[in-house]
């Protein structure tokens, strides 16, 4: 699997660490809604097809990336910095 890091370009998957499901939403830290916390920690969408996920280019620029990857074909349709869509442009490319 080749992942195109928006900062470093195409690199082998071995340089990246899977941070897991990107569909989960962390509740407000002050939240006392147990169900929301439980759902955040334990429940997963686990789709067969396009999956939103978070990776880190841990063996490269160390940026956290938001990707859409197909779990049936391993095909990656989009990669962007987690922090802001502006990072996709040339000028804002630094993580």
């Amino acid at each position: 699997m080749l992942i195109t890091c928006p900062y470093c370009g195409p690199r082998d998957v071995i340089e990246f660490t899977y941070q897991g499901d990107g569909n989960r939403e962390r509740p407000n830290p002050a939240s006392q809604d147990l169900e929301a916390w439980n759902a955040y920690v334990y429940d997963r969408l686990n789709p067969a097809g396009d999956h939103n996920e978070i990776w880190q280019h841990s063996g490269g620029c160390r940026a956290h990336l938001r990707m859409v990857r197909n779990t049936l074909t391993h095909e990656i349709s989009s990669v962007a910095f987690v922090r802001g869509a502006a990072a996709n442009t040339k000028s804002g490319g630094k993580p």
Partner: protein
């Protein structure tokens, strides 16, 4: 006369082997059943077998999308063990081990169960201490375990590198001698025939495409071969759990599907008569009766339904195998493949009634489901027939995550790729 015996062999040999019956029929689905088991893998077939044998429920259909033996029951690396630390796991897997010890007789089908021992190698003093603790926990619960020294290990497997200048020197190991291997296809075929002969319909090439409901209650399934109704619908589909449960409107579960790769080399002369696991990283290896070395390692570590993996894990597994057995450097790899594992959030399985009325769920086997095949079916059949769990699977609930009573063997937390 048992269907398979020396006498039936002789009789059929004299008859030109014309009278053997297929091991299971190929029935068309009926309009309704008492129980539908979705998934014709090892666990689904054993569930159907024990429903018929232990509970007298024979009006059962097993629906399989592909063919019997096409999924994980034919893709695993055949290791059977009960060397767990935590009591709910130890009790459950030891029950499974006792079933394995009598399975060939029970099924009248030779599953080639071989108690050749499983040895976990330790490479640091802390790891050896940890193994001693696990061994004590096992012995405390009546399971066999023994610590071995490097010299004893060398005697057992002369090819292993126990030298002090290895990158990860071997300091000892934890051995379970009653552990071992079985032929996985025979397990599938044996359970299939056992269930079939008791009246269970095994329906292959029958994909479930949706669930029939009456309000919240599940009342059957729609399939590629038409609608089938049932009083109870049991879902036991391992890596496809997310996909199938989505059809029932359950879109979030404490499960992620990951791909696990496995490998087999060309056939060698007898080389290794024990299952051995590398402790710095993850690699397990055994030699099949045909002579090939069968081995594997960690899951690839990202969500996947693809039944094939990527090269980094291949490199990991090969280097770990060579760290144990440098002499295998010239051996050629014959085949590699992948299977989709249902990784749970604590590394332990789920066998439960629900989550919807009329439905039963069996999943979360991570990459250790093969050894559980007998006990999983036994407990799931009990849960389906009695509408309450057997004491062996009482802890394997779906709501244990939300209630905070996890069974986290490795203490890794809710990160499936680390289990």
């Amino acid at each position: 006369m048992a269907e398979y015996s020396v006498f039936s062999l002789l009789k059929n040999a004299l008859n030109g082997n014309r009278d053997w019956k297929p091991a299971w029929r190929k029935p068309d689905p009926k309009a309704s059943y008492d129980v539908i088991v979705v998934g014709g893998g090892g666990h689904g077939l054993s569930t159907a077998y024990y429903l018929a044998k232990e509970h007298g429920i024979t009006n059962v259909a097993v629906l399989e999308r592909g063919w019997i033996g096409s999924g994980n029951v034919g893709r695993n690396t055949v290791t059977i063990r009960s060397n767990y630390l935590l009591p709910p796991n130890t009790r459950f897997y030891e029950h499974s081990m006792k079933q394995w010890e009598n399975l060939s007789h029970d099924l009248n089908y030779n599953v080639m169960f071989s108690q050749r021992g499983v040895l976990n190698l330790a490479h640091t003093p802390a790891q050896l201490d940890d193994y001693a603790r696990r061994g004590n926990s096992m012995r405390h619960q009546g399971v066999d375990a023994e610590l071995m020294t490097p010299a004893q290990i060398k005697q057992l497997m002369p090819a292993i590198d126990i030298s002090g200048n290895a990158r990860f020197p071997i300091l000892g190991g934890l051995m379970q001698r009653r552990a071992g291997t079985a032929r996985h296809d025979a397990v599938a075929w044996g359970y299939a025939r056992g269930a079939d002969r008791r009246g269970v319909d095994i329906i292959e090439n029958c994909e479930v495409t949706g669930f029939l409901r009456d309000g919240d209650r599940i009342t059957g399934v729609t399939t590629s071969r038409g609608e089938i109704r049932a009083k109870k619908v049991a879902v036991v589909v391992a890596g496809s759990t997310g996909r199938v449960m989505q059809l029932a409107g359950i879109d979030r579960l404490p499960i992620e599907s990951h791909v696990l790769q496995a490998f087999v080399t060309e056939s060698l002369k007898p080389f290794l008569d024990t299952v051995v696991t590398f402790g710095m990283g993850h690699c397990y290896i055994n030699q099949s009766d045909k002579g090939g070395l069968v081995y594997g390692g960690d899951i690839d570590g990202y969500n996947s339904y693809a039944q094939r993996g990527n090269l980094p894990i291949v490199e990991d597994v090969m280097s770990e195998m060579l760290a144990m057995f440098p002499s295998l450097g010239g051996v050629r790899l014959l085949r590699s493949w992948g299977g989709v594992c249902d990784m749970s959030m604590d590394g332990s399985p789920i066998i439960t009634k629900g989550p919807l009325p009329g439905m039963y769920l069996n999943c979360g086997w991570c990459y250790g489901g093969f050894k559980a095949t007998p006990a999983s079916g036994f407990c799931f059949a009990h849960t389906i027939a009695r509408d309450e769990p057997h004491e062996l699977n009482a802890a394997f609930t779906l709501d244990r995550f939300h209630r905070g009573i996890l069974i986290d063997e490795k203490g890794q937390g809710a990160t499936p790729r680390l289990h």
